[in-house]
């Protein structure tokens, strides 16, 4: 579904990613783990078209999207839920969700999609008229996920969805991600919360200083001594 071939990504002069290749198949959950500044967010931003790779190729559903604009990529159904949620804080929950569905089919199905999001996160229904900035962290993450779903994504990318959330809320967020996957959406997850993320994934890869150092099934990574030591503190 998504095929990344040997991309190099730079911020100015500094190389962030080197020679990254990755394939994601339909309906999979794939997790990317790695320390801070390993290049995880940059990887997602490159896929989303916010940063253009200097070298390599990104293909989505058989079409080359390397160098495409970010809004075109969203329209194709490749959507990112950014780190730190990045909600429109002075706008209502409902408006935030509406902005997730601006074009084409997603725009036409906006009303139904809102109902679908409220079904997934019933809490948001009571808060729909509230300003997004006044919500709790967990609720904000729900709005961010809901906003991503409003674009009717085929592949949804999450950048640190559990960041700054209470353990109970983290569980809720991962359950939502699993349900989204079960309803047919492919998922690419970037997480510090390695245990949770790998438990619900099929496969994973480890990024270190912009390079893939380890790749395998989720179970094999959970059993890997290096992963356990470096990312799970065991």
């Amino acid at each position: 579904m998504l095929k990344i071939e040997h991309i190099d990504v730079f911020y100015g002069e500094i190389q962030i990613l080197s020679d990254i290749s990755l394939q994601i198949h339909q309906r999979e959950i794939v997790t990317v783990i790695g320390a801070n500044s390993a290049g995880k967010s940059t990887l997602l931003k490159s896929i989303a078209g916010i940063i253009k790779p200097k070298k390599g190729r990104i293909e989505f559903q058989g079409k080359d999207i390397t160098g495409a604009n970010d809004h075109e990529i969203v329209e194709r159904g490749l959507v990112r839920v950014p780190e730190g949620r990045k909600l429109f804080c002075s706008m209502t929950v409902l408006e935030n969700l509406e902005l997730g569905a601006l074009k084409g089919n997603a725009r036409a199905k906006r009303k139904e999609s809102i109902e679908m999001v409220f079904e997934l996160f019933p809490k948001l229904k009571d808060r729909k008229k509230q300003l997004a900035g006044t919500l709790s962290g967990g609720e904000q993450q729900m709005v961010a996920i809901g906003r991503g779903l409003m674009s009717l994504p085929k592949l949804l990318m999450f950048d640190e969805p559990s960041l700054g959330l209470a353990p109970l809320v983290v569980k809720e967020v991962f359950e939502a991600i699993k349900r989204i996957n079960e309803s047919g959406t492919t998922i690419l997850l970037v997480e510090q919360n390695v245990n949770y993320a790998l438990t619900c994934s099929a496969r994973g890869l480890v990024l270190e200083r912009g390079k893939v150092v380890l790749e395998g099934t989720a179970e094999s990574l959970l059993d890997d001594d290096r992963v356990r030591k470096a990312y799970m503190g065991i």
Binding site: R85, K86, F88, L102, R107
Partner: protein
């Protein structure tokens, strides 16, 4: 009615009408500066171009400014869009003073270009319809100023609804709120910024057309309004159309009452006193902290 009350009511009526004109000059800026945070010092020059558009269309074709304001809108929408696309968008993400210097330079260039083309003469037109003064009892009401006042109310309501209800309006607010969030939902940021700047510029062109029947046109006329427009936008609370309307009315009223009782050059003084006091005691403006 005693003279005292007649003079007071007259001062209030004139003040509100002038305030409506200040608000009119400020609504476009609310969109550009208040919402998008672009400091556009060429705002007054855009108003001047709107005035000249209506002036020449009246002189050449006898077209009333209330019709030619549509053309002013289109002309300034295109000009604003081009300036946003080819000049401002290049330096938008650098420090704020760059945009300020760019637009200040632009305003000097436009004012002088117009002075070169059409001389620095003050010009006036006298349309025969919607002109003159109406009397309500003993109170004088200038008809074209009343029209400008009504239009500023309509534009305020119109732009408020545009930002609140349309997808484009919501996208504009989204960009102002969180640029990365806007990327992630696939807002075409270039296109929306251009539309926003275009509409803001178009609206100030309309404001220029609206005041042409009673305000002399000259290349430097924009400088009369540009500072007041910025003050009104900040006074009302950045990004609030209702705030800008109220801010305009407050400044208009204060100036008019001051001018009635202390004839002389103290009007601007009152404006700045109000401005400074507001910044001291309510730095977010009348409607600050609330959206739109």
């Amino acid at each position: 009615m005693s003279d005292f009350f007649i003079i007071l009511i007259q001062a209030i009526v004139s003040g509100l009408l002038m305030g409506g004109i200040y608000a009119l000059a400020a609504v476009g800026l609310t969109l550009i500066f208040g919402v998008m945070k672009i400091i556009n010092f060429a705002h007054g020059s855009f108003m001047m171009l709107g005035m000249y558009t209506s002036y020449w269309l009246f002189v050449w074709f006898g077209l009333h400014p209330y019709y030619s304001l549509v053309i002013s809108f289109i002309v300034l929408f295109i000009l604003g869009g081009l300036i946003q696309r080819f000049l401002i968008s290049r330096i938008e993400h650098t420090e704020a003073q760059n945009v300020l210097l760019l637009t200040l330079g632009l305003s000097l260039a436009l004012d002088n270009l117009v002075a070169f083309l059409w001389t620095a003469d003050y010009r006036t037109i006298k349309p025969t319809t919607f002109s003159g003064t109406a009397f309500i009892g003993e109170i004088m009401v200038s008809v074209p100023k009343l029209m400008a006042f009504v239009l500023s109310l309509l534009l305020t309501v119109g732009l408020y609804l545009f930002l609140k209800k349309t997808d484009t309006g919501k996208s504009i607010r989204a960009i102002a709120d969180d640029i990365e969030g806007s990327h992630s939902v696939g807002i075409n940021i270039r296109r929306i910024s251009l539309i926003c700047f275009g509409i803001g510029s178009g609206v100030i062109g309309v404001a220029g057309s609206m005041i042409t029947p009673f305000f002399p046109v000259s290349p430097s006329v924009g400088s009369v309004f540009v500072m007041t427009a910025f003050i009104v936008v900040v006074l009302g609370g950045l990004g609030s159309f209702w705030g800008a309307l109220l801010g305009g009315l407050v400044i208009g009223l204060a100036e008019s009452i001051e001018a009635t009782y202390h004839p002389g050059a103290m009007q601007q003084f009152v404006t700045y006193i109000i401005f400074i006091l507001t910044l001291l005691f309510r730095p977010t403006g009348f409607f600050g902290g609330k959206s739109a």
